[in-house]
């Protein structure tokens, strides 16, 4: 945040010859990859932000680290491995699939399947019940008329 001492540092704008602004990185494709990876890494000094979004010094440093690694030709997975070797799984916003996270990744799907199966079973069981268990049917004249 030292660089935010705009009070003294910035004189009024000077025209340097209008031109098409260069992309912030020399290579937009690389930059897109950097941001894509950075969006999955947690900024550890912030409460809950990615290093893509955070302005913290550590976030800026780690983004630079990611950029350099990609420039050296490393793969996305190698970058993630580099970060977890130093900071642990906590730094990944996409939790790895492991024995300890099976419940996490497969839980929702399992719940959906179980829920719908239970629903079908309950409905089937109800359809086999005798009519006395249910309310007496009054005239159905009104039940399907507009009036939800």
């Amino acid at each position: 945040m030292r660089r935010l001492l705009f009070i003294a540092l910035f004189a009024w704008a000077w025209v340097a010859g209008a031109k098409e602004a260069p992309s912030a990185a020399q290579d937009p494709v690389l930059e897109a990859r950097v941001l894509h990876i950075a969006a999955e890494l947690r900024c550890l000094v912030c409460q809950n932000q990615t290093i893509a979004d955070s302005h913290a010094d550590l976030a800026v440093d780690l983004r630079r680290q990611v950029r350099e690694m990609l420039q050296q030709g490393r793969s996305d997975q190698e970058v993630f491995d580099y970060m977890t070797a130093r900071y642990g799984d906590f730094v990944l916003y996409r939790p790895p699939v492991r024995s300890t996270t099976l419940l996490l990744w497969f839980g929702p799907g399992a719940m959906a399947v179980i829920g719908l199966v239970l629903l079908v079973l309950v409905l089937r069981r109800r359809s086999r019940m005798p009519a006395e268990n249910f309310d007496k049917e009054e005239s159905d004249a009104g039940s399907n008329a507009p009036g939800a």
Binding site: D53, L119, R126, N144, P146
Partner: protein
């Protein structure tokens, strides 16, 4: 003096809440009309006392009374008036007071608009709400008193967090809390029904409007929070799956399930114990959210300053309230009847399936939010669960729910025929697919996921259109009669259609933004320009200015399209004088079909800046869709049948629980 009045008022309110929590409910059990009659006056008194306390706190803010610790921590003499008012709920203690204020407003509303309710039922409802008030008032008075004094009083306050000095702060928390707290009404209705044994269609008709209004407020509150994050946080995101955001989404999902479930219970007297369970769950998740946000168990950008002692209190309160409700449910629910019969394929089933999916979605969000805590508590390491997880898990759950949304309204009650439905919906399906593909093609490229999202959105609209068409132009009826038939559509139905269209609009916005948003970071010196999606952004330099309580550096960016000027954007970097945090203020040009979003990044040598430019297509449709949903809900509540004089609505009509003494 004023803070003392406020403080005393809260103690009195606590006393009244105790009386309200005990006597009317005992009176209902023992049939003592005099005790039951205390319910309304107690609710009125409670409202008066809480409002008085709230007014005292607000007055302390407005008057810059820094001898009050809470005011000194959240305000400043240079803080503009609107943020002094909003600052009342800017911190933990004040936001608790806002919670209780909302509760007292809902209790007042219930007390006022309940002429049709039997006395015993009203007594139980207000008593339950009174007990909830007891919990929150005790919490405030014992651990989080907003009226604590500070000696010696400082000359200056520490200022409201600059991120909160925004119009969003004035509207988002009150709307959100109206929603959260509003589910306590459905909760109280549910407990009253379980205790009194009158769980039936009439009960559902009483409960429904209250729940729908609370749900509408919660929808608006969440939408406001999301749009506020979007324009204030400087990087254009609108949902982060942050624990506090999830804490508001879970009650919303359950509330949505609840309003649909209540529709079935009202109409067909079915799903009774399920609806009651949902009503308990919705408010339980509201309370869980309160716990998560204030206890420090989860790390979040939105969390309040934490203290394990406070966390323990809320947890104990949560355990008592929710635990006893579930215990009551376990005791009474098995004797609730099955209601009317319905076939395996019917409108009831589609609604039940929708409920299951919404419940599973809420469960998935809860699983992801609490999993880090789960592993840590079991000593199995530390983990982060973020947007990549939630996006991967949540969207596939919502897709079938949206599919059902297109079918449910057209299905018949009691029994529906699959071939009949397929026949009626075939045009809708075809149109939906066609429009989805056409939109993708017009936007420039087709993605699989984007096409699916668009398909969901068009499917809903096509289904609503089909439904509408069937009603205004049924077989054999001439077009001339259509306007008359249109006017005959009950507001409840119109509300449903509007709300569903709102969901479609929301899906459309989300899909378009995620799939077709463009971001560009450019190093710009004065005079430089960059072109994104046909819009040319030219940097015109910066200037400094002083705000009421901050110093700002403001950039100017001219936007043109095809030579024609479109907008002038002024992104800023601010430093607030008191807390000295730097803040990035984005500048946005909003349009119906796109937002142009610009923010200043870092300065580079030579007076140039890294400027972030986004073109976000249809992003405002996200919040527009939410507003339509809420409007649909409010329209539905305005249905005439809720305002019919209930002349023949005695307790005798209510079906008693099988097996209990009449």
């Amino acid at each position: 003096m004023i803070p003392e009045i406020g403080h005393f008022s809260l103690w009195l309110a606590l006393g009244v809440a105790w009386v309200l929590g005990i006597l009317p409910i005992a009176g209902a059990a023992r049939n003592r009309a005099d005790w039951m009659a205390l319910a309304r006056p107690c609710a009125y008194t409670l409202f008066f006392l809480v409002t008085l306390a709230f007014a005292c706190l607000m007055a302390s803010f407005i008057r810059h009374d820094f001898s009050v610790l809470y005011v000194a921590s959240n305000s400043n003499s240079a803080l503009p008036i609107e943020y002094r008012i909003a600052g009342v709920w800017g911190g933990h203690e004040g936001s608790l007071l806002l919670w209780v204020q909302m509760l007292s407003i809902w209790m007042l509303a219930v007390a006022l608009f309940s002429r049709h309710l039997p006395q015993a039922v009203l007594a139980r409802i207000l008593a339950v709400m009174g007990l909830i008030a007891v919990g929150f008032l005790l919490f405030m008075l014992l651990t989080s008193n907003p009226f604590d004094r500070l000696f010696p009083a400082p000359m200056e306050g520490r200022d409201l967090n600059p991120l909160l000095q925004d119009p969003g702060m004035v509207t988002h928390p009150p709307m959100l809390y109206m929603g959260y707290v509003g589910f306590s009404v459905a909760f109280a209705f549910a407990l009253a029904a379980l205790i009194g044994g009158n769980l039936d269609a009439t009960w559902a008709r009483w409960t429904r409007p209250w729940t729908t209004v609370a749900w509408a407020f919660l929808t608006i509150g969440i939408a406001l929070g999301s749009s506020w994050a979007y324009y204030v946080l400087g990087w254009g995101g609108w949902w982060f799956w942050d624990p506090v955001e999830n804490a508001s989404l879970m009650p919303w999902l359950l509330g949505t399930a609840l309003i649909h479930s209540l529709a079935v219970t009202e109409k067909r007297n079915s799903f009774k114990s399920w609806t009651v369970l949902l009503a308990i769950l919705a408010f339980s998740f509201s309370l869980l959210g309160t716990f998560l946000v204030r206890s420090g168990v989860l790390s979040s950008v939105h969390a309040f300053a934490t203290d394990p002692r406070r966390g323990l209190f809320i947890l104990a309160f949560l355990t008592v309230v929710v635990g006893s409700s579930f215990a009551l449910y376990a005791w009474r629910a098995p004797s609730v009847g099955l209601g009317a019969r319905f076939a395996v394929l019917s409108k009831e089933t589609t609604l039940l399936a929708n409920n299951v999916l919404l419940l599973v979605a809420a469960g998935a969000v809860m699983l992801g939010t609490l999993y880090p805590l789960l592993l840590d508590a079991l000593g199995m390491g530390k983990l982060s669960v973020g947007p990549p997880y939630f996006d991967a898990v949540f969207l596939p759950l919502m897709a079938p729910a949206v599919f059902l949304m297109g079918i449910g309204p057209l299905a018949r009650w009691k029994e529906a025929q699959a071939p009949d439905l397929a026949q009626r919906l075939r045009w809708a399906a075809g149109v939906a697919v066609g429009c989805a593909l056409a939109t993708g093609w017009l936007a420039g490229e087709l993605h699989l996921v984007a096409t699916l999202g668009l398909l969901m959105s068009f499917w809903i609209v096509a289904s609503v259109a089909t439904d509408l068409l069937e009603r205004v132009h049924p077989a054999g009826s001439p077009w001339a009669q259509a306007p008359a038939r249109m006017r005959q559509i009950p507001r409840a139905l119109a509300g449903m259609m509007l709300a569903h269209v709102g969901v479609a609009v929301f899906c459309f916005g989300v899909t378009m933004v995620k799939a077709y948003e463009v971001e560009s970071d450019a190093k710009m010196a004065t005079g430089d320009s960059t072109t994104v999606r046909g819009y040319t952004f030219t940097f015109r330099g910066t200037r400094e200015y002083s705000g009421p309580n901050y110093e700002a550096l403001q950039g100017r960016i001219d936007v043109t399209q095809g030579g024609r000027e479109v907008a002038v954007l002024s992104p800023e970097k601010r430093i607030y004088r008191v807390q000295k945090n730097p803040m990035t203020q984005a500048s946005i040009d909003s349009g119906l079909t796109r937002d142009l979003y610009v923010s200043l990044g870092e300065p580079v040598e030579g007076g140039a800046w890294i400027v972030r430019v986004y073109v976000k297509p249809f992003i405002d449709w996200i919040w527009g869709g939410c507003m339509l949903m809420a409007l649909g809900g409010l329209l539905a509540v305005a249905d005439r049948r809720y305002r019919r004089k209930q002349a023949t609505d005695p307790v005798a009509h209510a079906a008693p629980l099988a097996g209990t003494a009449p």
